[in-house]
Every structure is written in structure tokens, then in C-alpha cells.
Symmetry: C2
Subunit: 324 residues, 2 copies
């Protein structure tokens, strides 16, 4: 057997995915828009072997057991069923960024796993089919399959809910500066949180309002209108966190420093510095900016003692096979 | 002319008032429940004088001009119209607690003003009529007119939206420890915020869910069930702040320390200490507790360097005339 390797980038959502209409199929409650993050990546190799008695999943050099390993095996079963193959697999995965800290590691993980395993099984799948399969592993992974700026369709059937590129990475050189205020793993995973979303009395209203936000965000990207993007991205972040904090149990991912940055970043923008915050299911603050303003934003972020690290990413490519 | 003096207490809402169905009449979008705060008070004297050319409003020893004075004069006009009196008034008001910092100073202010001015004008009004009039000055003032634990009806007509006592102060000796993390005046007043509430895509859902929360809260008070009260009060707080932060413009009243206390107080409760947080339109954290637990809660709050002051209140009486 040969080993196949794929690389995928995590993505940062501008319009957030939060909550499912179908938890098993991971059909989202609302559509979403994101940007792949070049520079941050998951690199995953897959090898199917008739001699193996069980799947083996090694992450960051450590053989995984329990939930993480089961989630990978469940995903491999989907692909094995499509290929008509029963062989178990050896999966080795490496991330070059902190895992489980709101930097969408499950997005790049399941995008890379899907692309690597599909190729290793000899499945010749179009981007759309890969996006659908990746979605089954982790909803936002559907968005790490296509390139650049990506939109994921809300739909009621498995085959209709996939992501597609609305603009290539070269379209607009946005910069994402990720201010790490706490790189530790979060207490409630995004997958678990997505199931809780419907327990908030506010989720239905957030979902009903999503088409308006998607339209504003899509237009801002296509027109490269930073101010318009900033306003809708920050609004959408607050809406998602409003739902999180009012779900039962309540989820509050923010640290005190998260709140400080949420307050000061719009002030910086009002003062003429193009920057905007967005926050996933974690305490870290993604500061969007433009090439000409990124250095100044980064300088200001470094003045916060609680910001332990700043990651920098540009629009990234989609998931793809690379030499092993 | 004689001078008439009234005292009223601010109140802390357990189920919050946020947003109006009628901004002029201050008819609320949803019903609310609160507790009057004994120990904190507004003391207001009113004297109508045919010699006066204009209303005079003195607050904390300082003659007021502009918006604050206009709001008082507008309120006096309502009462003058009822009494058929045109005389201007001398109003002197004192608070023994910080003003405009999320401790409902406008509630006690307009309750005391209404009761003092109505008496000075010779109007003999029932509690219900005083509550309705106080509401016209500041919505939550309607709740500072009756005693103890108070519920304010949502209604579509002026004469139907008043507050009434659901239990006297002696019913349940709850303690409210108000942790002051920032005693300065807030940037957006509650009155302005209430007008913005409808700009949040989440407000309608919060309002639609209010009957459920009112039922849970009313029952918890009547049954003196602290755990049930704690859960619904904290949930309701998060719902109001979710609407605030998603209104346009976004309102975030929290300081980083507010967030810290919101995280730790439920942990204290899980550890067996009866306490619960609730937060009005400001950064300060009201920590509800019981007589037997208040001292320990206060001790723990004092360990936070950002908590500059702790106010302590029990269930209070309604607004009433006192010797001048």
C-alpha cells in the first residue's frame, strides 16, 4: 500500500456556523462564509493496510485512543463504505498551530483527512463531494476544502450542503492576526456546542437573520469593502456569542482580555486603522486587517500582556494532495 | 406652600425590563420582576410655588440644567395636568448611593418624585395610579412604588401597565451584595438603551420567551427556592446582555471584572454557597445571597482588587411620604 498525504488550512468564519438542523449529518442551521488561513495547516497521511486489525490515529506524534480516535474511525467508515473497502488505516496528522483553542483545528483536520483518505482509497471525487464528506466529520471542515473565500450552503439534504469558493486567495490580501490569549484546550468542544445551540431562546432569531448577514458579508468581500466587512463580521460574532452564553448550559468562551480587545478594536478602526475582530468558539481574538495596516495592528496587540502569541495568516488555498 | 418629602428605594430586577412597545408611554416589551433595595434610597422633596417662574431641580446639592431638569419638568407636567395646577415646583433630591452606574437610580428617583409631587399637589392616588405615573418617568420606577418583591405587568394600554407587590419584604430575607467594579456614570443611559433594544435581531425572541421566565421566577420567590431563583435570574441576565451587545449600535456594559465574577459566582454556588449574579445596564455585579451565606460571599468578593466597594441591601419597602 502507498501512503497518501494531504494538506488543509483551518478557516476563520466571517459569518459563523453555530448549530445544526441535523446533528448526525451536520447539516447547519444557517449558511456561513469564511477565509482559509494560509500558513496554518494540518498535514495528514493515510495508508489503508489489510494487515491492520484496527485503525491507528497518531496526532502530533501521539497515538490517540478514545473519542478522538473513534471520530476518525467513524469518518473513515464513511469513505470505506463509498469505496467498498474494509481495510483499516494508519492515519498520521500534524498541526503547526495550537489545537482546540478556537482556531478551527477540526476544520483543517477533517478536510485533510477526507482528501488524503479518499485518494488513498482510489476514490476520484469532485471538490463538492469532498466538501460534503468533510462536513460529515466536522461541519466547518466543509469550508476548508475549496480555496480562498468560501461560502457553505444551508440545505436540508446531505448532497446539497457543501462549500464553494466565492473568490480565490489572490482576490483580496486580507490579513488575519490571531491574538492568542489562552492557547489551552477549551472545556466544551465546538461539536458539543453546536448541539447545544438550539437550547438558546435566541438561536432561532439568529438563524432567521442569517440571509441578511450572508448578503452583506458576501458583497463586502466581492467589493473589497473593509469597513462593510468589519461591521458585519463583528455583528455576527456578537450574535453567535449571544447564543452561546444563553444556551443551557451557558457557554462563555471569553476571557477578560477577549472583552478588552472587543472594546478597543472598533476604537482603533474609528481612529482610522482598518481592523476588525472576530471570535470563534474560544477566547482568542482574530484581528482582520489589510496588508498596509497589519504591522501597526500587530504592534498594538503586542502591548497587551495577556496576548502571549500572535499568529499571522493570509487567504489560503483549498485542501489538496501533496508529496508524502 | 408646604414641602412634601418622599423616600423610595431602587430595585434590582430578577427578570429584566429591556425595550419598550411604546417609547413615549414607556410601555415595556415584556413583564419584569424585581426586589426593592432597602438601605439604598432616594429622598425627594417637592414644593409647588406660584412665585416660581420655572421648575428648579436640585440633585445632590447641585442645581440641574439640561436633559435631567427637562425630564423632571416633563414628569411634573403630567402630575400638574392631573391636578389642574400650573404652579412651578422646587424639587430637591438626594441619593445615598452612586448614580447612573446600573443601580437603578432613575427607578428610585421617579418613584420618589411621583409620590412626593402627587402629595404636594393634593392628589390622592392609589398605589396602582402612582406606579403608572412613576412608569411614565422611568419604566423601572413603576416597580419601586409597591413594597418588597414586585411584578410589573406588560400591557398595551397605559392604565394596565403597573407594578404590584407579590410578596412583602418580610417574606424572604434575600441579601443583595452589589459589587461595584466601576462607579462612574455609564455612556449610554438605560432610557436610551431601551429604545435601542428593538434593533437587536434577538430582542423579539427574548420577549417571546419572557412568560416562561416570569413564571419560573415568581414561583421561585413564592416558594423561597434559592437554587431555582439563581438559575432563572442568571439566565435572564445573559439574555438581556445578549440583546444589548447585538443592538445597533452594540452596547457592552461589562468590564473584564464583570466577566470574571459571572464565571466564578456559579462555581461558588456549585460548591454549596448560595449566591447568584444579576447585572443591570452597567458593569456592577449584584450578588444575591441568603442571610447565612452573605458574609462569606462578601468576604470572597473583597478578594477581587477591582471590586472597589460593596453595597448591601435587603428587601425594601415601597415609596412613601416621610416627615420632611
Amino acid at each position: 500500500m502507498t501512503t497518501t498525504t494531504a494538506v488543509a488550512h483551518p478557516n476563520i468564519a466571517f459569518i459563523k456556523y453555530w448549530g445544526n438542523r441535523d446533528d448526525v449529518l451536520r447539516l447547519p442551521a444557517n449558511g456561513s462564509i469564511s477565509m482559509n488561513l494560509d500558513g496554518l495547516e494540518t498535514r495528514t497521511s493515510a495508508e489503508f493496510d489489510p494487515q491492520l486489525g484496527e485503525d491507528e490515529f497518531t496526532l502530533q506524534g501521539v497515538v490517540q485512543i478514545g473519542t478522538a480516535a473513534e471520530r476518525v474511525s467513524d469518518h473513515l467508515n464513511l469513505l470505506r463504505n463509498m469505496a467498498g473497502v474494509a481495510w483499516k488505516a494508519r492515519i498520521v496528522s500534524e498541526n503547526n498551530f495550537p489545537i482546540g483553542a478556537g482556531i478551527a483545528s477540526s476544520a483543517s483536520a477533517f478536510a485533510a483527512l477526507t482528501v488524503a483518505a479518499a485518494a488513498a482509497l482510489g476514490l476520484e471525487l469532485a471538490e463538492r463531494a469532498l466538501s460534503i464528506l468533510a462536513r460529515r466529520g466536522s461541519g466547518s471542515a466543509s469550508r476548508s476544502v475549496p480555496e480562498g473565500f468560501v461560502e457553505w450552503f444551508v440545505a436540508s439534504r446531505d448532497e446539497d450542503s457543501f462549500a464553494f469558493s466565492i473568490a480565490p486567495p489572490s482576490h483580496w490580501p486580507l490579513i488575519d492576526l490571531i491574538a492568542i490569549v489562552n492557547a489551552g484546550p477549551k472545556k466544551v468542544s465546538s461539536a458539543e456546542g453546536n448541539v447545544l445551540a438550539r437550547t438558546s431562546p435566541l438561536q432561532a432569531a439568529r438563524v432567521a437573520d442569517a440571509p441578511r448577514r450572508l448578503n452583506l458579508c458576501r458583497r463586502a468581500i466581492l467589493e473589497k469593502n473593509f469597513t462593510a466587512l468589519a461591521e458585519i463580521v463583528e455583528e455576527d460574532t456578537r450574535l453567535m456569542h449571544a447564543v452561546m452564553m444563553t444556551s443551557q448550559p451557558s457557554l462563555t468562551y471569553w476571557e477578560p482580555e477577549t472583552l478588552e480587545l472587543m472594546r478597543i478594536i472598533p476604537e482603533w478602526r474609528a481612529g482610522g486603522l482598518p481592523t476588525a475582530y472576530t471570535i470563534d468558539a474560544g477566547p482568542n481574538v482574530h484581528c482582520l486587517s489589510l496588508e498596509e495596516s497589519a504591522q501597526e495592528v500587530e504592534r498594538r496587540l503586542r502591548e497587551f500582556p495577556a496576548v502571549s502569541q500572535i499568529l499571522r495568516a493570509r487567504p489560503g488555498l483549498g485542501a489538496k494532495i501533496v508529496p508524502g
